[in-house]
């Protein structure tokens, strides 16, 4: 027993003098200081790069700032009031909702179906899993460019297939068809959802399924009565992250002009909320209004997450208490 430990005791002794039993003391001051030394980078980063920008955006949202003119005026909550009156904002919110409503369930279902199939003992399933997951690791810009090429009016594979079938070519990348290209682009990455569901499936104790089989349950019965309930926390996780991801999605930008200043030219069908935010910042220079829109998005994401958790409380089945230790 040398320096370090004894030193700790000696240092804290004066501060804790009244305490009778030294060994049952709370974590030492020195250890606490070391803890904060270790977590300091994250705390400083969190305050400087998250809390402060959020606060700054909130302050901006109360002004008519355009980012250039030195004089900005305090306008109170006018920007927030405008959000509810601006038809473009409201319709972009509606399109984002539809986008989430279509792509989130489809991705989760496709991923679950693939996971169930790839959980069966067949040859080469490791390779199959990898290849189906592959599109999910393609960088967003690469994926969007690929889909632009597939759905190109003249040189694209989609119209090549159509003409092979004797149908007329379709102009995919403009309204009203471009939204289907967006859906296809998102669904291409359903391998991500597959991997998460697969991990959930592998966590289900084999004995449960075997016991059900012994009791004469059909495959469908044990799937709906055992697999799905035990998988429900994993599905809930995917619903929440999927909805949050959809609300923040700017994929239509990559499908169209590919530049932030071009946000205003994104076709109406793909004019999602985040696209409108970019257009307000980088085309219209309405920093105040755009900041209010960001705060609104923040609030909506928080609200939607809470609602999903509340609604699912009765249907999601946890093998352990959600807050407890596993």
């Amino acid at each position: 027993m040398t320096s370090a430990l004894t030193e700790v005791r000696r240092r804290e002794a004066p501060a804790e003098a009244p305490s009778a039993d030294r060994r049952k003391k709370p974590p030492s001051l020195r250890k606490a200081r070391t803890f904060y030394l270790f977590v300091a980078p994250w705390i400083i980063g969190f305050v400087a790069l998250t809390v402060f920008p959020l606060g700054y955006a909130f302050w901006l949202s109360l002004t008519d700032s355009d980012g250039l003119s030195p004089r900005t005026h305090f306008v109170g909550f006018d920007n927030y009031v405008e959000i509810f009156k601006d038809p473009l904002t409201l319709s972009s919110l509606g399109k984002t909702g539809l986008f989430a409503l279509v792509t989130v369930p489809l991705s989760i279902l496709a991923g679950l179906l693939l996971a169930v199939m790839l959980n069966q003992p067949i040859k080469g399933r490791g390779l199959l899993r990898g290849l189906i997951y592959l599109p999910a690791v393609v960088p967003p810009v690469g994926a969007a460019l690929t889909f632009r090429l597939i759905f190109d009016r003249d040189a694209g594979a989609a119209n090549g297939v159509l003409s092979g079938l004797g149908a007329n070519p379709i102009t995919w990348l403009v309204d009203p068809n471009v939204r289907y290209v967006l859906y296809a682009l998102v669904l291409w990455g359903c391998g991500g959802s597959m991997i998460i569901s697969l991990a959930g499936l592998q966590d289900i104790p084999r004995e449960l399924l075997e016991a059900a089989q012994v009791d004469g349950a059909s495959y469908w019965q044990s799937f709906t009565r055992i697999t799905v309930p035990l998988l429900s926390p994993v599905i809930l996780f995917q619903v929440i992250t999927g909805v949050i991801g959809s609300l923040q999605s700017f994929a239509p930008l990559l499908l169209s002009s590919g530049s932030l200043s071009g946000a205003g030219t994104v076709p109406q069908g793909n004019y999602l909320y985040m696209i409108h935010v970019f257009a307000q910042y980088f085309s219209a220079s309405r920093f105040g209004y755009a900041s209010a829109m960001l705060w609104m998005l923040f609030a909506v994401i928080l609200l939607v997450t809470l609602v999903i958790i509340k609604v699912s409380a009765r249907t999601v089945f946890y093998t352990v208490e959600p807050g407890g230790q596993k």
Partner: protein, 273 residues
């Protein structure tokens, strides 16, 4: 499972694989087509005479080498700093105690759900105010702050290391910085590998960050690919787009194929269980 159903399943899955890979095959096919072949309709499935010059043209058309250097620099900065910082902070959460630790950990977990893009634009405005846009300092700052998810991964790993290790080190007179640096960090190479891969692919794929913070001539490959290949009439040169995109996507796919097992079985799910 019976033999027949196994066969049927394999065939279905092979069909799915084909559908999932067909966009990449189309990208490669397009990248080898001549301008004449691009203009003909219906398009050919595979170029009759592969034109490899598209790749050299694609490199010349945009500042490909420069953009690659920028991408690599940013990827290097964020990967090393994020990994080191996340390990450092994760060690604190795993092995040390202090009043307020529990609350801080809850905040850390909550920030994983925080919409990143909401803070990005105001962060840009702040950096613009202090004249730090068009430099790599924002990536240094983000890297030093660590990533909540990676901090969590490191914490989980460090929390599983037996206490005797650090007690022995303390008796030998080693401080916590030394314990972290000499004992814990060298053991955590599986997490380090995961962290390096995740940070690298994220930095390589990021579009909004560089599009916002960097000017056109100091930007990354992701941004150059998204906007670079247009002719004098403002129309996209699709065969060059494809060639550029193949070169841009390839490093990530190669990394994935080498580390496939880790990708598929390991960290992509470690945050939720």
């Amino acid at each position: 499972m019976t033999r027949t159903s196994k066969w049927a399943l394999s065939i279905v899955l092979l069909a799915v694989v084909l559908v999932m890979l067909s966009p990449i095959l189309w990208l490669v096919s397009t990248s080898l087509k001549s301008p004449a072949e691009m203009a003909s309709f219906p398009p050919s499935w595979w170029p009759s005479a592969p034109r490899f010059a598209n790749y050299t043209d694609a490199i010349r058309q945009v500042n490909f080498v420069g953009a690659t250097q920028n991408s690599l620099t940013i990827a290097f900065i964020s990967t090393t700093l994020t990994t080191l910082s996340s390990a450092w902070v994760g060690f604190g959460f795993a092995r040390l105690t202090a009043p307020g630790k529990k609350q801080l950990f809850v905040v850390l977990l909550a920030t994983m759900m925080l919409p990143g893009i909401v803070t990005l634009v105001p962060t840009y405005l702040i950096f613009a105010k202090v004249h730090m846009v068009n430099t790599y300092w924002p990536w240094v700052a983000w890297g030093l702050g660590g990533s909540a998810f990676l901090i969590f991964l490191f914490r989980q790993f460090f929390a599983g290391i037996p206490r005797e290790m650090e007690e022995a080190a303390i008796i030998d007179g080693c401080g916590y910085v030394g314990i972290f640096w000499r004992i814990f960090l060298p053991q955590s190479w599986p997490v380090i590998a995961a962290s390096v891969i995740l940070s690298f692919t994220h930095a390589w794929g990021d579009f909004v960050g560089p599009a916002m913070f960097l000017s056109q001539d100091s930007t990354t490959l992701a941004v150059a690919m998204a906007t670079g290949y247009v002719n004098d009439k403002g129309l996209p040169m699709n065969n060059l787009v494809a060639a550029g995109a193949v070169m841009y996507v390839l490093p990530v796919l190669v990394l994935f194929l080498f580390m496939q097992r880790r990708f598929v079985s390991g960290f992509s799910t470690s945050g939720i269980k």
